[in-house]
Structures are given as C-alpha cells and as structure tokens.
C-alpha cells in the first residue's frame, strides 16, 4: 500500500524535480498540443455561441477543409490560390448548410439542430471521401517539421508555428466578437434567437457568417493537423480531443477554448509521461476527460462558461 502511495504521490514529483529540462519539454509539448486542440475547439465554440448548437460535424469540417486544400495542391494549384479557393468552398458550404439544414429548423429545439449536425457529419464524411478518395495525402505548406534545441529543450518548428497561428487566430476572433457590429449581433443571437430577430438582427446572415468563420477556423486546424499527420480520414476524430477542452473551457468562450486547451494539453502529457507507466501507458485520451470532469464538478459551466440561472 505504501509502495503504491509512493509510486502515485511521490515518485512522479521526484522524477520531475530530478530532470527539470525534461519537465520543461513535457510542458512545452503539452502547451503545443493544447493549442492544436484549441484550434479545433474554437470551431465548436463559434457555432455554439451563435446558435446554441453543438456542431457535431466540426471535426469533419476540419477534414473536409484539409481534403479540399490538399486536393487542390495536388492538382498544381499554388498554395495561396488553393487557400483562397478552399475558403470559397467553406463559405459556400456555410451558405448551403444555412439554406438546406438550418433555415427549415429555425426555432426548433436545440436537440433537433444537434441531430441535424450529426446527419451533416456523415454526409460530409461520405461526400469528402467520394470527392477526394480515402488515401493518406501529404500536406506540404512549406513549414519545416524539424526540431531545434534551446538549452537542452527540444522544440518542434511545426508545433511552434501552429501555436503562433492559434494565438493570432484567437486575437482576431476576440476582436471580431467584441469590437465589430456583426460580432455583437452574433452574441445577441446566441442569447436568444427570437429576441434577436425582434430587434432586427438578421438571423440567416448571422448563421452564414458564423458557419463561414467556423469553416475558416476548420481550414487552419486542418492545415496544422494535416501537416502533422498527413491528410486522412482520422482527422475527423480530432473532434474527440476538442471535447474535454470544451467541457473545461465552456462551450461559448473563445478564451475558454484556449485556456481549456492548454490545461488539457499539459495535463494529459504530464499524466501520460509521469503516471501512465504505472498502468501500462496510453492513458492520455481518457485522462483528458477525467481532468475535464474534475473541473466540471467544481464549475459545471466550465472555466469561462456563463452561469445559467433560471427562474422556476
């Protein structure tokens, strides 16, 4: 019993203290991984903020965006043109979703809209596969995937670029939501569809805008994850990595998605490296959820989520 207690509560911390450079490397690895999760989580947050809908298809949107981009690159389209065309495709997709899926379901319960996004998920997965095939595709956008050493700590260039991209994206989104007219309208729609409509907020336009922005976020996430692992269908599964981030950060907070991502990223790396070997490893997937649930017990609305008080 004492041995177990030592292994769980003492040995990992001694290990950390004994090799501080390695600990820093684990922390940096966690921060970078967390920001990559945040990139995916942001897409969920945007749509939830504007419509109160949990978009089950966000992971597939990442995949669809990456497939479109790499498909264009494979056909010899220059990178910048391919990026612009992919953006056009994602905006067109947003229009189609608004016209064919959301508009007929205005004022329906959120669970109905959620179910609609499940359908959308499977449609996009099948359609993307039909269009671009299921093979692994290399996504080379010129970002080197090598590491360099700083004071004994290894840093990966691709992950560093992804972190910087995530930071820029979050700043732009924060400004967009706080400082622009359309950003305020988005928040109004998120609070109450009908009230927003009654004061003249164009719900349809808002939905197109928000799905388009989520599409652009999906392109960035697809770009980074695709460069990391190649573009393939398992990209859609990274949505599973975003879920604990959302649970922890709150479903409607952009900063929450970032802070949540960082906590999950760092937490799961520390868990896997220092406590994983005690149980044979491979704990990081479920450890992230345990971490999120632990936070949830203390703050059910998540770290940055809005506390909902309803009169009964």
């Amino acid at each position: 019993m004492l041995d177990l207690l030592y292994a769980v509560a003492v040995a990992p911390f001694r290990d950390m203290a004994g090799a501080p450079a390695f600990l820093i490397e684990v922390l940096i690895g966690g921060v970078f991984a967390g920001l990559m999760y945040s990139l995916v989580a942001l897409g969920f947050v945007l749509i939830f903020k504007a419509s109160g809908v949990f978009n089950f298809a966000q992971g597939v949107m990442v995949l669809f965006a990456a497939l479109t981009l790499v498909g264009l690159l494979e056909r010899g389209v220059p990178v910048l043109v391919a990026l612009a065309l992919t953006t056009v495709v994602m905006v067109a997709l947003a229009f189609a979703i608004e016209r064919l899926v959301l508009r007929p379901l205005v004022n329906q319960a959120h669970i109905i809209l959620f179910m609609a996004t499940i359908g959308l998920n499977f449609f996009l997965e099948g359609f993307g596969e039909m269009l671009w095939g299921a093979n692994v595709k290399k996504l080379d956008i010129g970002i080197p995937d090598r590491s360099f050493i700083v004071r004994g700590v290894q840093i990966n260039q691709l992950e560093l670029t992804a972190a910087a991209t995530a930071a820029v994206l979050v700043t732009v989104l924060a400004v967009f939501f706080q400082r622009t007219r359309i950003g305020r309208a988005l928040r109004a729609v998120a609070d109450d569809h009908e009230a927003a409509l009654s004061i003249g907020v164009p719900l349809r336009t808002i939905w197109v805008v928000v799905w388009s922005v989520a599409g652009v976020v999906a392109i960035v996430a697809g770009l980074m994850w695709g460069a990391k692992s190649g573009v393939q269908f398992s990209l859609s599964l990274i949505a599973l990595k975003a879920l604990p981030v959302l649970i922890l950060g709150g479903f409607e907070s952009v900063p929450g998605a970032i802070v949540g991502g960082l906590i999950i990223g760092v937490g799961e790396k520390l868990g896997e490296v220092y406590w994983g070997p005690l149980v044979g490893g491979a704990i990081e997937n479920w450890f992230a959820y345990v971490l999120a649930l632990a936070f949830l017990l203390a703050r059910p609305q998540g770290l940055f989520g809005e506390k909902i008080i309803e009169r009964v």
């Binding site: 596969e129 692994v136 090598r146 692992s229 269908f233 990209l235 990274i238």
Partner: protein, 437 residues
Amino acid sequence: MRRRRILIAVLAALALAAPVTAAAQSREVFVPLLVYRTGPYAPSGIPIADGFVDYFTLLNERDGGINGVKLAWEECETQYDNKQGIECYERLKGKSPVVVNPYSTAITYSLIPKAPVDKIVVFSMGYGMSAASDGRWFPWVFNFPTNYWSQASAVIRYIGAQEGGLEKLKGKKVAHIFHNSAYGKEAHPTLEELAKKYQFELSLLAVDHPGQEQKATWLQVRRLNPDWIFMSGWGVMNQVAIKEAVSIGFKMDHLIGNWWSANDSDVVPAGEGAKGYKGATFHAPGTNFKVHADLLKLVYEKGKGSAKKEDLGAPLYNRGIVNAMLTAEAIRTAMTKFGNKPLTGEQVRWGFENLNLTEQRLEQLGMKSFTHPVKVTCEDHEGSGPVLIQQWDGKKWNVVSDWIAPMRDVVRPKIEGAAVEESKKLGYTMRDCAKEK
C-alpha cells in the same frame, strides 16, 4: 395492357434465369471479404483489399477460377471495428463461405470460437492469435506463413546482426511502440522472453487509438534514448509515429515497423525525413514479378482493376496478392483430394492443412522470389516462415536483408504453452495428428 405484358415477360425471364443463376452459383467457391475502405484505418485497408480482389479477378479472367470453379466474393465494410466485423461475418455466413480473412486481430479472436461450429476456416495471414499456430488445438485457424511471435524474434535476430551478434544486445535499449490493442500487444510475450535471454532493456510504450496525437510517447522516447525501436502500429498511428521520429531526429534506420507498419502510405506524410525507415515483411515489394505483368495485362487493361495502376507493388497491395494466392492454393490443394468442384468448409480446411507451396509452384504462379515457400501441417498452422527487412529510400521500398529465420526454439514452446491456455478458455481438446496422417 402493354405494361401487363411487359411485366409478365420480365417475370417469365426472371423465372427462367433463376435456375441458371443457381447453377452458376453452385459452380463457385464463395469467399467473404471483411474489408475497411472507409474510416481511420482505410489507408491501410484499401491496398490489401485491392490486392486480394485483383488476384481473384486474375484467376477468374485467366484461368476461369480454380480448376474451372469460379471464385465469388463479396466485400463487407468493417471499418476495422470488431462489432461491425462480426455483423459482416454473420451476414455473409448465409452464402456458404469456405474461408474468412478477418483482417483484424480483434475480429480474428471473435471468430475463432465460431469457426468449428460454422465449419468456416479462419485464415489470419500473419496476424491474429499467435497461439492458434498450434493446429493440434486450433484445427480451424491458420496464420501462415508466419506469426507475430516469429516476426518479433526475427526482428530481434536482425537487430542482433546489425549490432555484431545477438550477444552484443546485452545492455542495449529496445523500445516497442505499439497500438494499444490486442494486435499491438501480441508480440509482447516473445519480446519479454528475448529481453531476458539476451539481456537487453525492453521498454513497452503504448499509443492509444487512433494515434493521431503521440507527443507523450515520443517525449518518453527522447528521454529513454533507445538504441532501436520496433513498432507495431496501424493506420494513422504509423504516419504520425514516423513523423515524430523524424522530428526528434531519431536514426530512421534504427526504427523498424512490423509488417503492418511499413507501407507507402505510412512514409509519404514524412516526406524525405522517412528515408531509411525499415519494416518487416514476408514478401517482396515492387512490381518486378510476372504476376504483376499478368494483372496489368489481364485485369487492368480490361478495366477490371481495383486500384490505380501506380499503386500496384505497394507492400500492402502485394500482401493482398499473397493473401489471395495462399487462399486460392489451399482451395486448389483441397481439390486434389475432393475433386474440381465447389467445396465445403471442411474440405477446404483439409486443403489449408495440407498446403505445400514449393519454390517450383511459386514460379508457376509468376511469384518466383516474391514470397517464401510454405508447408503447413496438422501440428503447425504457421509454417514458421522467415522474414525480410525492407527499407524506404525516399521513393520506394528495397529489400535489405536475406530471409531471416525466426527463433523457433523460443517461439514454438511458447506457442504450445499458449495454445493450451487459450484452448482451456474455449473448452477445446487436443487432437492426435498422428491418427490423421
């Protein structure tokens, strides 16, 4: 009135065609294909399925099937998921199949208890339950030409040779990075025994499904600084692992994937960085074989090919060819005893157990030097076949070793011990092979 006449004519045509269809079916051998062409493991599943289907198509086109008996097959999508695999099996069982290739260790484990009941051979070529190599306990399961334990021992033999002899392994660090599944863990018992025997330090590092994010594993690799890494990955896990290895600057020629971790799709995302990566195999890569020429001429020129022409020769495509060829040759062997007609599962089981694929036969099949001869017996359903090491040069795979014999002295006793244990769970009794000869 006219519509009614047309309807009657159609019904009459169908009624006349029905016996013909039934007769046609009765001249066929049916093989269900549990494939995964969609989902996260599709990049690995597609080339194997293509290779398998193309070879069966070749046999039907070139030879009219096997000794005049056409081959029939139907694909069922499993997405490499155990539940879907079982559903596929149950659905296709009604079509009287004689053999099933599960293409998943987990699905194989689920089908093993069903095989003797349904009288359908389970052929898990180079995967599945290693213990089932002991045919005395598992008459319905075959995993030749070699199994995971033999592969692990052959890879350790290769590493030993690279270090200057097996005795030089003492004190070396070897890490096994594995898919956290029944498949990924299958090699552990052999690796652990060999670590004790040759006194190398073995570290087991698991990667959870699907393996999209492996940072923590590779941080541990950085700290551990192993001399060699052996990897049992699948699907996206392989591509990410190879990229991570490149990223941390691990010596690529000291990273050896098992035979499910060394396909073109695994190395492509890492680009130039993957140069030098090695993988185990039990057949050659490439298209420099007569069988490929036949496939191009008799299948692809007729527009009946499954893959893109440029994908022929990839390791997993060639594995599909080998899998289909071994299946067909087992059926052909069964026909030498039971006649050139559609066979039952029990008859085909006999064919599998008496398969003797010689060098001469491989040459006749257009596969000289493509794969190794194999002889299956009542006791040995594995064949204890040797293993090759192939290496990626940035454009293609090249074989860089001779055939490496597994350590049968280590592996076979383990198989026999494990077979007893696994059989106990299933309530099997050992058969006397001497009486069956």
